[in-house]
């Protein structure tokens, strides 16, 4: 190899490594969003659960995830892997962080009632089995990759898989106490919109890192193409936020901050699927549809299906992710049959695995906190102290319903 080529490869690897280092900001953003959209009496619990789920998923990936994702070459406990900055070692780092981020997604659906230990079991399953198995099929020359399925940003491996896990958690846990009175949903707004919006802005940085690093590693994009990935990611999020604002303005006479934040994240998720393949106009259009879809779907799940999802994880990661994967075939000349096969695998394989594992866990270990714990708040019940000890607790926040 000539000296110039060696330097170009090295620069590409350094760029990829720096981009991967931004990925933890996606986890920070998700944690802040889930916390802000939950109740104040469960804020510390949600933050700690996010941290624990990320940690458990990363460790589970170390233990067996890598071996599954890189079967048959992979090994348990990363034995024999050379950490020399090669694409393989960078891929391990990206996958480990992706597993952590994906494992945190179901927490949005289970907030305010999901026990910490049950959260950790779910994260272990995600990081150790679900994520690596699907990632093997998509990123490591599995049958979906051979069929022509395209997803370099992790819309399917991380987000829709996480959304499927969120759906099973929401169903198995049931709604929060007081959410449905005589079959009608009550509004339980998030306690801190500032945290939610800050989370959105942090998540953008993390998503830029994940999408760009994924494009370099799995699509062999060069430095110039990475700029397009970043532009598409930003455009998808921006268009989705505006669409969510317009939809909520049309439905409730004013834009809803939490739904706009959900729209933003939905745009980022849809953008993950198409950022490496679409042109900027298509990315904006895809984001626009994703934002509107998220705003409508959050309300539909709540009203029609009685699914209590405080963080909107099912709509944001599941629905928007599926839309993003489908849109690859419309806007980026992807193989539509392969994209549909990927979505069918998420619905027919990942969802039953997530549901079945959580259902088995529920038989031997309680998933949901005791009614007393839900009344006093997850912070006091599970951690022994609240997130905001100096706050005045409102009467209806503690004793209602």
């Amino acid at each position: 190899m000539r000296t110039e080529e060696v330097m170009k490869v090295d620069a590409q690897q350094v760029l990829c490594f720096v981009l991967i280092l931004l990925a933890p900001l996606a986890a920070a953003g998700l944690a802040l969003m889930n916390t802000g959209l939950g109740r104040s009496r469960s804020a510390a619990h949600t933050m700690l659960a996010s941290l624990c789920m990320f940690s458990v998923a990363a460790l589970a990936y170390l233990f067996c995830g890598y071996a599954i994702q890189n079967y048959p070459a992979g090994s348990l406990l990363l034995v024999g892997v050379k950490f020399d900055g090669s694409p393989v070692s960078l891929g391990i780092l990206l996958s480990m962080l992706s597993a952590g981020v994906g494992a945190m997604i179901p927490l949005g659906a289970g907030a305010d009632r999901w026990r910490l230990s049950a959260c950790c079991y779910s994260a272990a399953l995600f990081g150790g089995v679900t994520f690596p198995l699907f990632a093997h099929w998509v990123w490591n020359s599995g049958w979906l990759a051979k069929a022509g399925f395209l997803d370099t940003g992790g819309a399917s491996t991380m987000h829709v898989s996480g959304g499927m896990a969120a759906l099973s958690v929401a169903w198995l846990l049931g709604p929060r106490r007081g959410k449905y009175v005589d079959g009608l949903p009550a509004a339980l707004p998030g306690h801190d919109v500032v945290l939610v919006i800050l989370g959105c802005l942090l998540a953008l940085v993390g998503w830029l890192g994940l999408n760009c690093a994924g494009a370099i590693l799995y699509n062999r994009a060069d430095s110039g193409a990475v700029v397009l990935v970043a532009v598409n990611t930003v455009l998808a999020a921006a268009a989705a936020t505006l669409a969510a604002a317009v939809v909520t303005r049309a439905r409730y006479n004013r834009p809803d901050a939490s739904l706009c934040a959900n729209g933003w994240t939905g745009g980022l998720v849809a953008g993950s699927a198409i950022a490496g393949f679409a042109n900027p106009l298509a990315a904006a259009l895809i984001g626009l549809i994703a934002g509107a879809l998220v705003a409508v779907s959050v309300e539909m799940l709540d009203l029609r299906l009685s699914l209590d999802d405080p963080g909107g994880a099912i709509s944001v990661h599941g629905m928007a992710g599926i839309w993003g994967l489908l849109s690859v075939s419309f806007f980026a000349h992807g193989n539509w049959l392969a994209q549909i096969a990927g979505i069918a695998t998420l619905l027919g394989f990942v969802f039953p695995i997530s549901y079945g594992a959580d259902w088995l866990l529920a038989i031997c270990h309680r998933l949901r906190v005791a009614p007393e714990g839900e009344r006093t708040g997850m912070d006091l019940h599970e951690l022994g102290a609240g997130a905001y000890p100096d706050f005045v607790t409102h009467h209806d926040d503690l004793f209602s319903r």
Partner: protein, 77 residues
Amino acid sequence: MSAITSVYSELFMTYPTLMRASGFFLLVSGWGIVPAAFSLLHGPGPRAGFVLAGVALELLGFVLIVRSHGFTRRKKS
């Protein structure tokens, strides 16, 4: 038509768990057709037909699961 609807509702009300299990069975069976179509069939037409049939089966299973959860919730409340 109303007789079918009432039998349908009766089934969900009486055996929600069984209906849910059937839904999951359809979901997994539908998915099984998809990779099988990719590995066994080579023409784009037959492959697309089988994949779409698998997806349709999955959607049927998913509807059963959604309905069974709805009925269980209504029963509890």
